[in-house]
């Protein structure tokens, strides 16, 4: 019977086809197993040396699995097979595994960038999680670079990801950067930004740079296609005391999320051979007023210290010295007042058991005071005290001392803040102003409320 004869041939072809597919599945599963085993043994690199057998073979064709996985971007005429293969054959180094690094890393991995390196020296902390969206509660205390590598492997096992648990410095930056095609600046401090800029100029690598604070973000592609480098725009680092970090200034998590995603977008376009949008342009994002502004920048500066015609910076320098601040966004401890004007949190605890109680003045901002404060403390923000004609401090202290019946004694005022820096500034400012109208002894608290929480009352919140 004709019909069954045809069916038998069809059946044979169908089986052959299924066998081929099964073989492909087995091949992919073997590859996946191999990758998982590598992941299990994945070592955090603590040096810039690539692990052995790390060389990547050039990808020359897409597998069926690739076609399926990337189909939605593959059918874009701007990407196509050529663009997808280019992504597979591109390596990207992310410096910083935080609020910018997390979204950038995961979009690069999702798009099929072949090789991603992640540099960070920090460990995951609870107060990272509102913005550093790849890290999880289970990974608190673990290395951030390792955490991102794990997330990348879970999303796309075909991406090779190398975490580097190290602090980028003038000795390791160049050897590391030279191994990658595109560099992403996802860092959180001025010193590392200059280091990375200079290293990218010296190694001739494009630098996709972004930053975020509060409700604002900035993005530029430096050192690319005749455009400027970071030093062309900002030849001098800002005075350290004028630099606000995320811990003091705050940041809404989605803002670095948007900026990091834009970094991934620029890197993907560059890798796929498309025209990047922010070379020689600075994107300003204002999340509060809801605006994107694009500033057309200058070309490379002829007399730039590093990328100019006769550069004075021809090798990496000491960036901590250059910037007057170290490669971290952690807060510095100021030493303005002499030791005799300061007390420890333990001494404060004792004072609070005595009578009369000292007057406790908390100089943090009202929003911080609302988060937590010590009982009976009054809030006079440093910003108020620093106003030249401010009388709020004297008035409030007078008021409290009258209500507590302290007027004819020497009044003890203890000034405190979050970390013991602003309290010193407040006293420094008050010293010049406090007249003899009320006899006041001013002391500030070393380490502020943060030290109080660590050394006196573990139930007092930290933020």
């Amino acid at each position: 019977m004709m019909e069954s004869y045809i069916s038998a041939t069809d059946g044979d072809a169908k089986l052959q086809c299924e066998l081929q597919e099964a073989k492909q599945v087995i091949k992919e599963l073997k590859e996946k197993l191999n990758h998982y085993e590598q992941n299990e043994n994945m070592q955090l690199c603590e040096s810039t040396k690539e692990p052995e057998n790390s060389s990547l073979l050039e990808v020359t064709q897409l597998t069926n699995r690739d076609i399926r996985r990337y189909s939605r971007q593959l059918i874009l005429p701007e990407i196509g097979v050529r663009g997808q293969l280019a992504l597979s054959n591109t390596s990207v180094l992310l410096v910083g595994a935080g609020g910018l690094g997390c979204p950038a890393a995961i979009y690069l991995a999702a798009a099929g960038i072949g090789h991603i390196g992640v540099v960070d020296f920090d460990h995951v902390e609870l107060d990272n999680l509102h913005r550093q969206i790849l890290h999880t509660e289970q990974r608190i205390g673990k290395s951030k670079s390792g955490s991102i590598a794990t997330s990348i492997h879970n999303l796309n096992f075909s991406v090779k990801c190398q975490p580097y648990h190290l602090q980028l410095n003038k000795d390791n930056a160049l050897p590391l950067i030279k191994q990658y095609d595109i560099i992403l600046d996802c860092t959180d401090n001025v010193a590392t930004r200059y280091l990375l800029n200079d290293a990218c100029v010296l190694a001739n690598k494009p630098l996709v740079s972004a930053s975020a604070l509060r409700f604002e973000g900035q993005l530029t592609v430096y050192n690319y296609d005749g455009g400027p480098c970071y030093r062309c725009l900002f030849p001098k680092p800002p005075p350290p005391e004028t630099v606000t970090n995320c811990s003091d200034g705050g940041v809404l998590g989605v803002v670095p999320g948007i900026m990091g995603s834009l970094q991934a977008l620029e890197a993907i376009k560059m890798a796929a051979g498309l025209t990047v949008s922010y070379a020689q342009k600075l994107l300003l994002f204002d999340a509060l007023f809801g605006g994107f502004r694009s500033i057309k920048l200058r070309p490379k500066k002829k007399d730039c210290a590093v990328c100019g015609e006769t550069p004075s910076v021809t090798k990496l320098i000491d960036y901590e010295e250059f910037c007057g601040a170290g490669p971290s966004d952690k807060c510095l401890s100021l030493h303005i007042l002499p030791p005799e004007d300061r007390i420890t949190v333990k001494e404060l605890a004792k004072l609070l058991e005595e009578t009369p109680l000292p007057i406790l003045v908390d100089v943090r901002s009202p929003v911080e005071f609302e988060i937590c404060h010590l009982e009976n403390s009054i809030n006079i923000p440093l910003a108020e005290i620093e106003k030249p004609d401010d009388t709020s401090f004297t008035e409030k202290v007078k008021q409290v001392s009258i209500s507590r019946g302290l007027m004819d004694r020497d009044i003890s005022v203890v000034v405190l803040c979050r970390r013991g820096n602003d309290s010193q500034k407040a006293i420094e400012c008050l010293k010049t102003r406090m007249s003899s109208e009320i006899p006041v002894t001013l002391k500030d608290v070393i380490g502020g409320l943060s030290a109080w929480s660590l050394q006196v009352d573990p139930d007092f919140p930290q933020y």
């Binding site: 930004r193 604070l213 004028t242 606000t244």
Partner: protein, 90 residues
């Protein structure tokens, strides 16, 4: 020589300059022909607090970067001047 006249421009402050100036934007009167240095002087004279970061700012007129290399710039009423310090957080 032509006489200089004053024009009203809108100044936008970004990042740290917004804190220091105490405002996100304002309208000010400036000469219609200025260099970037003069413009910076005028702005930082208005907000003395900006002097601490005067050397770390970039200026843009109508979303175009300007510097001393731009020479004298012609300004018109309604022009937008952006004051931009670098952000370093991430």
């Amino acid at each position: 020589m032509q006489r200089q006249s004053l024009v009203e421009v809108r100044v936008l402050y970004f990042a740290k300059s917004r804190d220091l100036a105490g405002t996100a934007e304002e309208i000010i009167k400036v000469p219609d022909r200025v260099t970037s240095q003069l413009l910076l002087e005028i702005i930082t004279d208005r907000h003395i607090e900006l002097k601490t970061i005067q050397q770390n700012l970039i200026l843009a007129v109508n979303q175009d970067y300007i510097s001393e290399e731009s020479g004298e710039i012609q300004l018109s009423t309604g022009d937008e001047i952006a004051v931009i310090p670098p952000l370093s957080g991430g």
